[in-house]
């Protein structure tokens, strides 16, 4: 199907992928509010969620413009169903414990920062501008999540075990960030975005350095779950997340908040 995409349709899909990643991860992180292990982490988690939701407003706002159906970023966030979401599966897996949450954040931040670095030179000026703004926030996210992964991996024996388990679980979801399809080919051709597969080397170098310092072992399996970026498959978790996130908009259609 993707072969027949027009340039705008491909761009729309790309923007949904960017915005849905930040929306769903921002939502997940916001679930922590008031429940963190220490006050500074409550503040940091809220701050990360806030950045990601702000980034969502930009990506989905631009997506809605490109779509050209007079919809808003809110319409896209609150009125689509599971199969219309284009986020990678990694961001929709549940928080579980603090270790899992921070490891998921680190694995995403590492990709996100590399991706935004490339998008800063996008041929699309709007995308380059969003990347320039958000890459500063994401650099802070990465610094914090990497530091925390190192601190907990190289902490006590107990925290090390938690972090190893926190790495083993999401690992099969990492590969999806680097799978390329026709949408990506169209983005590469238009000079809008890099080929996801081309980012893998830089990513592996970055995470290997941090995880080694954290005394953690990269799982050997190279199996990867896929489907989120294309909408072909999501986890069961996404529907529950949307049930909560979209409830007011669904229950009171047309109201202004």
């Amino acid at each position: 199907m993707a072969q027949d995409l027009t340039a705008d349709q491909a761009l729309f899909q790309f923007l949904l992928r960017m915005g849905d990643n930040t929306l769903i991860l921002g939502h997940r992180v916001s679930e922590w509010c008031g429940h963190a292990p220490v006050l500074e982490e409550d503040i940091a988690l809220a701050n990360t969620a806030l950045d990601l939701i702000g980034q969502t407003q930009m990506w989905l706002g631009l997506a809605a413009e490109v779509q050209g159906e007079e919809k808003s970023a809110d319409d896209l966030a609150f009125l689509r169903d599971v199969w219309e979401f284009r986020n990678v599966l990694l961001v929709e897996v549940p928080n579980e414990d603090f270790g899992r949450t921070l490891m998921r954040q680190f694995l995403f931040d590492a990709w996100h920062s590399i991706q935004l670095g490339h998008l800063m030179t996008s041929s699309n000026a709007r995308i380059a501008a969003i990347a320039a703004k958000t890459s500063k926030e994401v650099a802070c996210h990465l610094e914090r999540s990497a530091d925390t992964v190192v601190g907990l991996g190289d902490g006590t024996e107990q925290s090390h075990d938690y972090m190893q388990a926190a790495l083993d679980y999401p690992w099969p979801y990492v590969g999806e960030m680097f799978s390329s399809d026709a949408v990506d080919a169209a983005m590469v051709q238009a000079g809008i975005a890099p080929d996801p597969a081309a980012l893998r080397g830089e990513y592996d170098a970055l995470i290997t350095r941090v995880l080694t310092e954290a005394t953690l072992t990269l799982p050997e399996s190279s199996f990867g779950h896929k489907g989120g970026r294309t909408g072909a498959m999501h986890t069961e978790h996404l529907g529950h997340l949307l049930t909560q996130m979209q409830w007011l908009q669904r229950a009171y259609p047309g109201a202004s908040w």
């Binding site: 929306l23 939502h27 916001s30 679930e31 509010c33 008031g34 429940h35 963190a36 292990p37 220490v38 006050l39 500074e40 982490e41 409550d42 503040i43 809220a46 701050n47 969620a49 806030l50 939701i53 702000g54 969502t56 407003q57 989905l60 970023a73 809110d74 966030a77 609150f78 414990d97 603090f98 270790g99 925390t148 190192v150 601190g151 907990l152 190289d154 902490g155 006590t156 107990q158 925290s159 090390h160 938690y162 909560q244 996130m245 409830w247 007011l248 908009q249 009171y252 047309g254 109201a255 202004s256 908040w257």
Partner: protein, 289 residues
């Protein structure tokens, strides 16, 4: 520093800090259900501010020789209190407006005079806290305005939130001066500058015209303009309910404290791990020098 003065301040600043921390929960309850991206961002920023207030206040308390962990343990095992207002549930989206407008509004009236309180670190913490709180109160009013002028269902939510939170907000100023346990001594020490009743009246006088502006019904049939006093008369809250909540029988006391205890207990391995890492790092640095 007189021992009694120090003890009173630790109690008051500690309770204030705890209130900011527990206060994350009733609003956190709606972050995942916020109806728009903008409202979600605003609410996140607001709750983040509250956690920040907790941090300044614990720091102010630490200058009196008590650690944050010590205060936290007293909160968790019930030896210290937090503001009873956070033992009420947030049941509909308009509560996010009413909490900002009424609860933060009442807190501001309590806190503005504290910028001149006799203990410097507390007074200085309050300067920043008050700036942020007044922003919160205005955003709360903005949510209420949107709801009060919205669809019939939204108007119903706004009225429900106002009706439920009105008397608990009045109770935030504490019992009448005659029955308040700590008031007299605190006023003598200039920790406290105004009486509970004085601030409560001020709150009623500023809030009633706002309720009228929103076009909502007054939550108390006893509210009437008193020409002679130049103030609104209002019904006294049912103080037996206030004492019920203080004694642990509010609608959310058990759940709020359980949530804080769970967060602390579940987070133990994180705190231990980060501390162990910091020590290893320091030792490695020391060995390298």
């Amino acid at each position: 520093m007189p021992a009694g003065y120090r003890k009173t301040l630790i109690r008051q600043i500690g309770q204030h800090a705890h209130s900011e921390i527990v206060g994350q929960l009733p609003e956190g309850n709606w972050i995942t259900r916020a109806p728009t991206l903008e409202r979600k961002a605003i609410l996140l920023a607001k709750v983040q501010d509250e956690a920040g207030h907790g941090l300044y206040l614990y720091c102010a308390a630490e200058t009196l020789g008590v650690s944050r962990d010590e205060l936290t343990e007293k909160l968790l095992d019930g030896r210290m209190k937090y503001s009873s207002i956070f033992n009420y549930p947030t049941l509909n989206w308009a509560d996010m407006g009413a909490v900002g407008w009424l609860v933060d509004g009442a807190a501001i009236l309590n806190q503005v005079p504290l910028q001149r309180t006799s203990f410097g670190p507390y007074a200085r913490a309050m300067v920043r806290v008050c700036k942020e709180e007044s922003f919160h109160a205005r955003q709360g009013f903005d949510v209420m305005r949107k709801m009060a002028t919205g669809t019939p269902a939204q108007q119903k939510m706004a009225q429900d939130a106002l009706n439920r939170l009105w008397f608990p907000a009045l109770m935030m100023f504490g019992p009448s001066d005659a029955e308040s346990t700590h008031s007299e001594q605190s006023m003598a020490w200039k920790i406290k500058m105004n009486s509970n009743d004085e601030l409560r009246q001020k709150f009623v006088d500023q809030t009633v015209p706002q309720i009228e502006f929103l076009g909502l019904e007054l939550p108390d049939a006893g509210i009437k303009w008193n020409e002679a006093r130049g103030s609104y008369d209002y019904s006294d809250p049912d103080w037996s309910k206030f004492f019920d909540v203080i004694q642990g029988n509010g609608p959310c006391n058990v759940d709020r404290l359980a949530a804080r205890n769970k967060a602390w207990k579940d987070g133990a391995w994180v705190r231990d791990g980060l501390l162990a890492h910091a020590r290893k790092k320091a030792a490695r640095k020391h060995a390298a020098e």
